[in-house]
Point group: C2
């Protein structure tokens, strides 16, 4: 399998983290923003939805979408709960991450980080994303104040998925993480997992 991975992207990091936690290796092609390698991957038709990460499977299928890749790689491992309700709750967090969390937490970090996003980083937009991001992080905080993990009593794909952009929400996104101590403790638990690798 070949993983097209953007080194600076949380969506790509999720996949690298799951592979590290499982002790599995794949061939990696780094496709950073504005790099010739990214242009080549586009030209070769390797990015079906125009974005990294993409996992190219043994049969040549190019599988896009970080969370679909997590589900594929995670199948049959302890990172997917056996119980059908727990599995549905795991997917609920993962769809919420793509629909709500990523579009606010990751986008504010991108506006502050990438030169080509600067024109969109107006004070009004940054202020609005800050408020919305704090509200979203509060949803995680409320849950993690009562539970060690997002679903059940062990880490699952939802934790791997949501830790990616949450880890860098303070440093890169400018969110006030001191408000969210339970998230901080959860991130420490994730970093203590055997095989853990940082962004």
């Amino acid at each position: 399998m070949i993983l097209y991975s953007m080194p600076s992207s949380g969506n790509s990091y999720k996949v690298r983290l799951l592979l590290a936690l499982l002790g599995r290796a794949v061939t990696r092609v780094d496709v950073e923003y504005d790099s010739p390698a990214l242009a080549q991957a586009h030209a070769d038709g390797r990015l079906p939805f125009g974005k990294a990460p993409v996992l190219v499977l043994a049969d040549g299928t190019a599988l896009p979408e970080s969370n679909a890749i997590l589900c594929y790689i995670g199948a049959g491992t302890h990172f997917i709960p056996q119980d059908s309700v727990a599995r549905a709750q795991m997917l609920a967090w993962m769809f919420w991450e793509q629909n709500q969390h990523e579009g606010v937490i990751a986008v504010r970090a991108a506006l502050l980080t990438y030169a080509h996003r600067k024109p969109d980083a107006t004070p009004q937009r940054l202020a609005e994303l800050l408020d919305r991001g704090h509200a979203l992080l509060q949803i995680m905080e409320d849950h993690l104040g009562r539970h060690d993990w997002l679903v059940g009593t062990a880490p699952c794909l939802a934790d791997i998925c949501l830790c990616a952009y949450t880890q860098s929400a303070g440093d890169r996104g400018g969110f006030d993480m001191a408000r969210f101590p339970a998230i901080g403790e959860w991130l420490v638990r994730i970093a203590a997992l055997d095989g853990y690798t940082p962004l």
Copy 2:
């Protein structure tokens, strides 16, 4: 099971459509925008992420996120492919829908439809969403020009998921659907499925 469903919302419609296609009935609580029923559902803590739809399971679990609900209800039916690669591709379309398609196609429709969204419906925002939406619909068009269904040779959860906001993209969102004949034919195939119900 109890389904908290917003009648005007494509996310809620997806769940109603899958239930209809499977010939399954659940108790339905309609929670339209600005309704007392929606306020009551919030007050009762029935909407974990603050949004409909939510499916309350037999054990009392409130399961949010339309696509997670589709996966839960669809488990063990012919709407989830047996093959692991096809299943991953189904999830890829569904995550793409929440990360890309819904945030553009549904949002433009909402800006044009709901009174409380009017202040955000600036000409610049509408023009930007129009361009981005046409680019996203072109990804579906390219695929459906070569395939009858989004994954494999039969309808799956990805088709049910993506048909919701795509059906109303022209009428409510103002997208130029004449550009996308293969999408139009796919929508006709979906509407011909046994048990189909319109929005």
